[in-house]
Symmetry: C2
Protein backbone atom coordinates (compact mmCIF):
# COMPACT_ATOMS: atom_id res chain seq x y z
CA UNK A 1 0.00 0.00 0.00
CA UNK A 2 1.24 3.46 -0.88
CA UNK A 3 2.58 5.81 1.82
CA UNK A 4 -0.39 8.15 1.21
CA UNK A 5 -4.10 7.45 0.68
CA UNK A 6 -4.64 7.41 -3.08
CA UNK A 7 -8.03 7.80 -4.71
CA UNK A 8 -7.75 4.39 -6.32
CA UNK A 9 -5.39 1.93 -4.67
CA UNK A 10 -5.83 -0.57 -7.50
CA UNK A 11 -3.82 1.60 -9.89
CA UNK A 12 -0.14 0.55 -9.84
CA UNK A 13 3.08 2.58 -9.96
CA UNK A 14 2.85 6.08 -11.32
CA UNK A 15 -0.69 5.52 -12.61
CA UNK A 16 -2.20 5.85 -9.13
CA UNK A 17 -0.15 9.00 -8.50
CA UNK A 18 -1.17 10.65 -11.77
CA UNK A 19 -4.77 9.91 -10.84
CA UNK A 20 -4.21 11.34 -7.32
CA UNK A 21 -2.67 14.61 -8.52
CA UNK A 22 -3.99 15.77 -11.91
CA UNK A 23 -2.30 19.19 -11.59
CA UNK A 24 1.17 17.62 -11.58
CA UNK A 25 0.14 14.76 -13.90
CA UNK A 26 -0.31 17.19 -16.80
CA UNK A 27 3.32 18.41 -17.04
CA UNK A 28 4.69 14.96 -16.08
CA UNK A 29 2.82 13.31 -18.96
CA UNK A 30 3.59 16.17 -21.31
CA UNK A 31 7.29 15.73 -20.57
CA UNK A 32 7.10 11.96 -21.15
CA UNK A 33 5.34 12.49 -24.46
CA UNK A 34 7.88 15.08 -25.58
CA UNK A 35 10.87 12.93 -24.63
CA UNK A 36 9.63 9.50 -25.65
CA UNK A 37 6.95 9.94 -28.32
CA UNK A 38 7.63 13.08 -30.33
CA UNK A 39 9.64 12.90 -33.56
CA UNK A 40 13.36 12.40 -32.96
CA UNK A 41 16.39 10.94 -34.70
CA UNK A 42 16.47 8.46 -31.80
CA UNK A 43 13.85 5.77 -32.39
CA UNK A 44 11.07 5.33 -29.86
CA UNK A 45 12.47 1.89 -28.99
CA UNK A 46 15.91 3.43 -28.31
CA UNK A 47 14.42 6.08 -26.04
CA UNK A 48 12.32 3.53 -24.14
CA UNK A 49 15.44 1.37 -23.67
CA UNK A 50 17.27 4.35 -22.14
CA UNK A 51 14.27 5.01 -19.84
CA UNK A 52 13.98 1.35 -18.84
CA UNK A 53 17.70 0.88 -18.25
CA UNK A 54 17.97 3.97 -16.01
CA UNK A 55 14.85 2.84 -14.13
CA UNK A 56 16.39 -0.58 -13.54
CA UNK A 57 19.54 1.04 -12.15
CA UNK A 58 17.33 3.12 -9.85
CA UNK A 59 15.68 -0.09 -8.64
CA UNK A 60 12.25 0.95 -9.90
CA UNK A 61 10.54 -2.26 -10.97
CA UNK A 62 7.35 -0.60 -12.25
CA UNK A 63 9.14 1.91 -14.49
CA UNK A 64 11.79 -0.54 -15.69
CA UNK A 65 9.34 -3.21 -16.65
CA UNK A 66 6.67 -0.99 -18.18
CA UNK A 67 9.14 1.01 -20.30
CA UNK A 68 10.99 -2.17 -21.31
CA UNK A 69 7.61 -3.52 -22.42
CA UNK A 70 7.06 -0.32 -24.43
CA UNK A 71 10.50 -0.82 -26.07
CA UNK A 72 9.48 -4.41 -26.80
CA UNK A 73 6.31 -3.19 -28.50
CA UNK A 74 8.14 -0.56 -30.57
CA UNK A 75 10.91 -2.96 -31.61
CA UNK A 76 8.65 -5.96 -32.20
CA UNK A 77 10.99 -7.75 -29.79
CA UNK A 78 10.53 -10.85 -27.65
CA UNK A 79 9.58 -10.50 -23.96
CA UNK A 80 13.14 -11.55 -23.09
CA UNK A 81 14.25 -7.95 -23.85
CA UNK A 82 12.81 -6.94 -20.45
CA UNK A 83 15.41 -9.02 -18.61
CA UNK A 84 18.06 -8.38 -21.24
CA UNK A 85 17.95 -4.66 -20.38
CA UNK A 86 18.80 -5.59 -16.77
CA UNK A 87 21.90 -7.44 -18.01
CA UNK A 88 23.14 -4.60 -20.24
CA UNK A 89 21.57 -5.91 -23.48
CA UNK A 90 24.00 -8.74 -24.33
CA UNK A 91 21.34 -10.52 -26.42
CA UNK A 92 19.78 -7.49 -28.13
CA UNK A 93 21.13 -5.89 -31.30
CA UNK A 94 22.12 -2.41 -30.17
CA UNK A 95 23.93 0.18 -32.32
CA UNK A 96 27.27 1.60 -31.14
CA UNK A 97 25.50 4.96 -30.89
CA UNK A 98 22.87 3.62 -28.47
CA UNK A 99 25.57 1.84 -26.44
CA UNK A 100 27.46 5.13 -26.06
CA UNK A 101 24.29 7.02 -25.14
CA UNK A 102 23.42 4.37 -22.54
CA UNK A 103 26.85 4.96 -21.02
CA UNK A 104 25.98 8.66 -20.67
CA UNK A 105 22.53 7.82 -19.27
CA UNK A 106 24.00 5.49 -16.65
CA UNK A 107 26.39 8.21 -15.55
CA UNK A 108 23.51 10.69 -15.28
CA UNK A 109 21.73 8.13 -13.10
CA UNK A 110 24.68 8.23 -10.69
CA UNK A 111 24.74 12.03 -10.69
CA UNK A 112 25.01 14.84 -13.25
CA UNK A 113 28.69 15.44 -12.59
CA UNK A 114 29.51 11.81 -13.37
CA UNK A 115 29.16 12.59 -17.08
CA UNK A 116 32.67 13.18 -18.47
CA UNK A 117 33.96 14.93 -21.59
CA UNK A 118 35.21 11.47 -22.64
CA UNK A 119 31.64 10.12 -22.49
CA UNK A 120 30.55 12.92 -24.81
CA UNK A 121 33.48 12.40 -27.19
CA UNK A 122 32.78 8.66 -27.34
CA UNK A 123 29.14 9.33 -28.21
CA UNK A 124 30.10 11.84 -30.90
CA UNK A 125 32.52 9.28 -32.37
CA UNK A 126 29.56 6.93 -32.94
CA UNK A 127 27.67 9.70 -34.76
CA UNK A 128 25.53 10.99 -31.88
CA UNK A 129 24.42 14.60 -32.37
CA UNK A 130 24.27 17.31 -29.72
CA UNK A 131 20.47 17.04 -29.73
CA UNK A 132 20.66 13.27 -29.17
CA UNK A 133 23.11 13.77 -26.30
CA UNK A 134 20.82 16.46 -24.84
CA UNK A 135 17.78 14.23 -25.09
CA UNK A 136 19.61 11.25 -23.58
CA UNK A 137 20.71 13.30 -20.57
CA UNK A 138 17.19 14.64 -20.06
CA UNK A 139 15.52 11.23 -20.48
CA UNK A 140 17.91 9.76 -17.90
CA UNK A 141 17.38 12.73 -15.57
CA UNK A 142 13.60 12.57 -15.99
CA UNK A 143 13.54 8.90 -15.04
CA UNK A 144 15.56 9.72 -11.93
CA UNK A 145 12.49 11.82 -11.10
CA UNK A 146 9.73 9.40 -12.16
CA UNK A 147 11.45 6.48 -10.37
CA UNK A 148 11.78 8.45 -7.12
CA UNK A 149 8.16 9.62 -7.36
CA UNK A 150 6.93 6.04 -7.80
CA UNK A 151 9.09 4.46 -5.09
CA UNK A 152 9.28 7.46 -2.74
CA UNK A 153 5.53 7.21 -2.26
CA UNK A 154 5.65 3.43 -1.86
CA UNK A 155 3.32 2.50 -4.73
CA UNK A 156 2.71 -1.16 -5.57
CA UNK A 157 3.70 -2.84 -8.84
CA UNK A 158 2.78 -6.14 -10.51
CA UNK A 159 5.71 -8.57 -10.26
CA UNK A 160 5.84 -10.73 -13.43
CA UNK A 161 7.12 -9.31 -16.71
CA UNK A 162 4.07 -10.73 -18.48
CA UNK A 163 1.79 -8.37 -16.51
CA UNK A 164 3.35 -5.39 -18.33
CA UNK A 165 3.00 -6.50 -21.96
CA UNK A 166 -0.40 -4.92 -22.58
CA UNK A 167 0.60 -1.76 -20.68
CA UNK A 168 3.74 -1.50 -22.83
CA UNK A 169 1.66 -1.74 -26.00
CA UNK A 170 -0.65 1.03 -24.81
CA UNK A 171 2.30 3.25 -23.85
CA UNK A 172 3.93 2.58 -27.22
CA UNK A 173 0.90 3.11 -29.42
CA UNK A 174 -1.32 5.54 -27.51
CA UNK A 175 1.40 7.72 -25.94
CA UNK A 176 1.52 9.07 -22.43
CA UNK A 177 -1.39 11.48 -22.59
CA UNK A 178 -3.68 8.45 -22.47
CA UNK A 179 -2.02 6.74 -19.54
CA UNK A 180 -4.26 8.26 -16.89
CA UNK A 181 -7.42 6.20 -16.69
CA UNK A 182 -10.53 8.22 -17.46
CA UNK A 183 -13.59 7.71 -15.28
CA UNK B 1 31.57 25.41 -21.42
CA UNK B 2 28.64 23.04 -21.73
CA UNK B 3 29.08 19.53 -23.17
CA UNK B 4 26.92 20.51 -26.17
CA UNK B 5 26.84 23.65 -28.30
CA UNK B 6 24.10 25.85 -26.86
CA UNK B 7 22.45 28.70 -28.75
CA UNK B 8 23.61 31.19 -26.14
CA UNK B 9 26.58 30.21 -24.04
CA UNK B 10 26.18 33.25 -21.82
CA UNK B 11 23.05 31.80 -20.22
CA UNK B 12 23.95 29.87 -17.05
CA UNK B 13 22.65 26.60 -15.60
CA UNK B 14 19.25 25.45 -16.75
CA UNK B 15 18.55 28.79 -18.47
CA UNK B 16 20.80 27.96 -21.43
CA UNK B 17 19.22 24.50 -21.71
CA UNK B 18 15.66 25.85 -21.66
CA UNK B 19 16.68 28.25 -24.42
CA UNK B 20 18.32 25.39 -26.39
CA UNK B 21 15.30 23.08 -26.24
CA UNK B 22 11.97 24.94 -26.11
CA UNK B 23 9.97 21.72 -26.65
CA UNK B 24 11.17 20.26 -23.36
CA UNK B 25 11.36 23.67 -21.64
CA UNK B 26 7.58 23.98 -21.72
CA UNK B 27 6.73 20.95 -19.52
CA UNK B 28 9.82 21.51 -17.34
CA UNK B 29 8.74 25.07 -16.53
CA UNK B 30 5.10 24.06 -16.19
CA UNK B 31 6.11 21.44 -13.62
CA UNK B 32 8.24 23.97 -11.68
CA UNK B 33 5.38 26.44 -11.63
CA UNK B 34 2.91 23.80 -10.46
CA UNK B 35 5.19 22.52 -7.70
CA UNK B 36 6.72 25.78 -6.48
CA UNK B 37 4.33 28.61 -7.37
CA UNK B 38 0.76 27.34 -7.41
CA UNK B 39 -1.39 27.61 -4.29
CA UNK B 40 -0.46 25.10 -1.61
CA UNK B 41 -0.63 24.70 2.16
CA UNK B 42 3.19 24.66 2.02
CA UNK B 43 4.46 28.21 1.65
CA UNK B 44 6.49 29.14 -1.41
CA UNK B 45 9.53 29.70 0.84
CA UNK B 46 9.13 26.20 2.31
CA UNK B 47 8.95 24.63 -1.13
CA UNK B 48 11.98 26.57 -2.38
CA UNK B 49 13.92 25.46 0.71
CA UNK B 50 13.09 21.81 -0.10
CA UNK B 51 14.20 22.37 -3.74
CA UNK B 52 17.41 24.14 -2.70
CA UNK B 53 18.32 21.60 -0.02
CA UNK B 54 17.89 18.62 -2.37
CA UNK B 55 19.90 20.47 -5.03
CA UNK B 56 22.72 21.06 -2.55
CA UNK B 57 22.79 17.36 -1.68
CA UNK B 58 22.96 16.59 -5.42
CA UNK B 59 25.96 18.92 -5.67
CA UNK B 60 24.18 21.28 -8.09
CA UNK B 61 25.50 24.76 -7.30
CA UNK B 62 23.30 26.59 -9.81
CA UNK B 63 20.02 25.03 -8.61
CA UNK B 64 20.92 25.16 -4.92
CA UNK B 65 21.91 28.81 -4.96
CA UNK B 66 19.16 30.09 -7.26
CA UNK B 67 16.37 28.30 -5.38
CA UNK B 68 17.86 29.31 -2.02
CA UNK B 69 17.81 32.90 -3.33
CA UNK B 70 14.14 32.42 -4.28
CA UNK B 71 13.43 31.15 -0.73
CA UNK B 72 15.28 34.20 0.59
CA UNK B 73 13.06 36.50 -1.48
CA UNK B 74 9.84 34.76 -0.41
CA UNK B 75 10.82 34.72 3.28
CA UNK B 76 12.34 38.21 3.33
CA UNK B 77 15.41 36.49 4.75
CA UNK B 78 19.04 37.51 4.84
CA UNK B 79 21.48 36.19 2.20
CA UNK B 80 22.98 33.94 4.90
CA UNK B 81 20.04 31.56 4.35
CA UNK B 82 21.80 30.33 1.17
CA UNK B 83 24.67 28.86 3.18
CA UNK B 84 22.41 27.96 6.11
CA UNK B 85 20.52 25.55 3.83
CA UNK B 86 23.83 23.76 3.15
CA UNK B 87 24.33 23.29 6.90
CA UNK B 88 20.82 21.93 7.53
CA UNK B 89 19.26 25.26 8.57
CA UNK B 90 20.64 25.60 12.12
CA UNK B 91 20.19 29.40 12.04
CA UNK B 92 16.82 29.59 10.28
CA UNK B 93 13.46 29.28 12.03
CA UNK B 94 11.98 26.13 10.55
CA UNK B 95 8.73 24.50 11.68
CA UNK B 96 8.78 20.87 12.89
CA UNK B 97 6.62 20.07 9.85
CA UNK B 98 9.17 21.44 7.40
CA UNK B 99 11.98 19.64 9.26
CA UNK B 100 10.14 16.34 8.89
CA UNK B 101 9.39 16.99 5.21
CA UNK B 102 13.06 17.81 4.59
CA UNK B 103 13.93 14.44 6.09
CA UNK B 104 11.64 12.79 3.52
CA UNK B 105 13.08 14.94 0.71
CA UNK B 106 16.64 13.99 1.63
CA UNK B 107 15.72 10.33 1.56
CA UNK B 108 14.10 10.76 -1.87
CA UNK B 109 17.37 12.36 -3.02
CA UNK B 110 19.20 9.15 -2.06
CA UNK B 111 16.61 6.97 -3.82
CA UNK B 112 12.85 6.43 -3.75
CA UNK B 113 13.08 3.29 -1.63
CA UNK B 114 14.99 5.14 1.08
CA UNK B 115 11.73 6.74 2.24
CA UNK B 116 10.48 4.69 5.19
CA UNK B 117 7.06 4.30 6.82
CA UNK B 118 8.69 5.89 9.89
CA UNK B 119 9.55 9.01 7.84
CA UNK B 120 5.91 9.29 6.83
CA UNK B 121 4.65 8.71 10.38
CA UNK B 122 7.03 11.35 11.71
CA UNK B 123 5.78 13.87 9.14
CA UNK B 124 2.15 13.07 9.94
CA UNK B 125 2.91 13.58 13.66
CA UNK B 126 3.94 17.17 12.88
CA UNK B 127 0.65 17.77 11.05
CA UNK B 128 1.80 17.12 7.47
CA UNK B 129 -1.06 16.10 5.19
CA UNK B 130 -0.95 13.42 2.51
CA UNK B 131 -0.94 16.15 -0.15
CA UNK B 132 2.03 17.87 1.52
CA UNK B 133 3.91 14.56 1.70
CA UNK B 134 3.07 13.91 -1.97
CA UNK B 135 4.26 17.34 -3.02
CA UNK B 136 7.47 17.06 -0.99
CA UNK B 137 8.34 13.73 -2.61
CA UNK B 138 7.64 15.11 -6.08
CA UNK B 139 9.59 18.36 -5.48
CA UNK B 140 12.57 16.33 -4.27
CA UNK B 141 12.26 13.91 -7.20
CA UNK B 142 11.89 16.76 -9.70
CA UNK B 143 15.07 18.41 -8.44
CA UNK B 144 16.90 15.10 -8.85
CA UNK B 145 15.94 15.61 -12.52
CA UNK B 146 16.68 19.33 -12.87
CA UNK B 147 20.04 18.94 -11.08
CA UNK B 148 21.12 16.07 -13.36
CA UNK B 149 19.98 17.98 -16.44
CA UNK B 150 22.04 21.03 -15.45
CA UNK B 151 25.20 19.16 -14.41
CA UNK B 152 24.90 16.23 -16.84
CA UNK B 153 25.26 18.69 -19.70
CA UNK B 154 28.12 20.53 -18.00
CA UNK B 155 26.56 23.99 -17.88
CA UNK B 156 28.38 26.85 -16.17
CA UNK B 157 27.16 28.68 -13.07
CA UNK B 158 28.13 31.94 -11.36
CA UNK B 159 30.07 31.20 -8.18
CA UNK B 160 29.21 33.85 -5.51
CA UNK B 161 25.89 33.74 -3.68
CA UNK B 162 25.42 37.46 -4.39
CA UNK B 163 25.17 36.73 -8.13
CA UNK B 164 21.88 34.87 -7.51
CA UNK B 165 19.96 37.45 -5.51
CA UNK B 166 18.29 39.17 -8.47
CA UNK B 167 17.59 35.81 -10.14
CA UNK B 168 15.97 34.57 -6.93
CA UNK B 169 13.71 37.61 -6.82
CA UNK B 170 12.62 37.06 -10.41
CA UNK B 171 11.94 33.38 -9.75
CA UNK B 172 9.99 34.26 -6.61
CA UNK B 173 7.89 37.06 -8.03
CA UNK B 174 7.56 36.30 -11.74
CA UNK B 175 7.34 32.50 -11.52
CA UNK B 176 8.99 29.96 -13.78
CA UNK B 177 7.09 30.64 -16.96
CA UNK B 178 9.13 33.83 -17.26
CA UNK B 179 12.52 32.25 -16.66
CA UNK B 180 13.31 31.64 -20.33
CA UNK B 181 14.74 34.83 -21.74
CA UNK B 182 12.59 36.28 -24.49
CA UNK B 183 14.34 37.58 -27.61
Amino acid sequence: MAHIKLNNENLPGIVGLLDYSPATAAPLLDLANTLLQDDSTLTRAEREIIAASVSYKNGCHFCHTSHAAAAMAHAGADISIIDDIKKGLPETEVSPKLRSLLEIAHHVQQGGKKVTPEDIQAARATGATDKEIHDTVLIAAAFCMYNRYVDGLGTWAPVPNEAYVEMGKKMAFQGYGMSVPQE
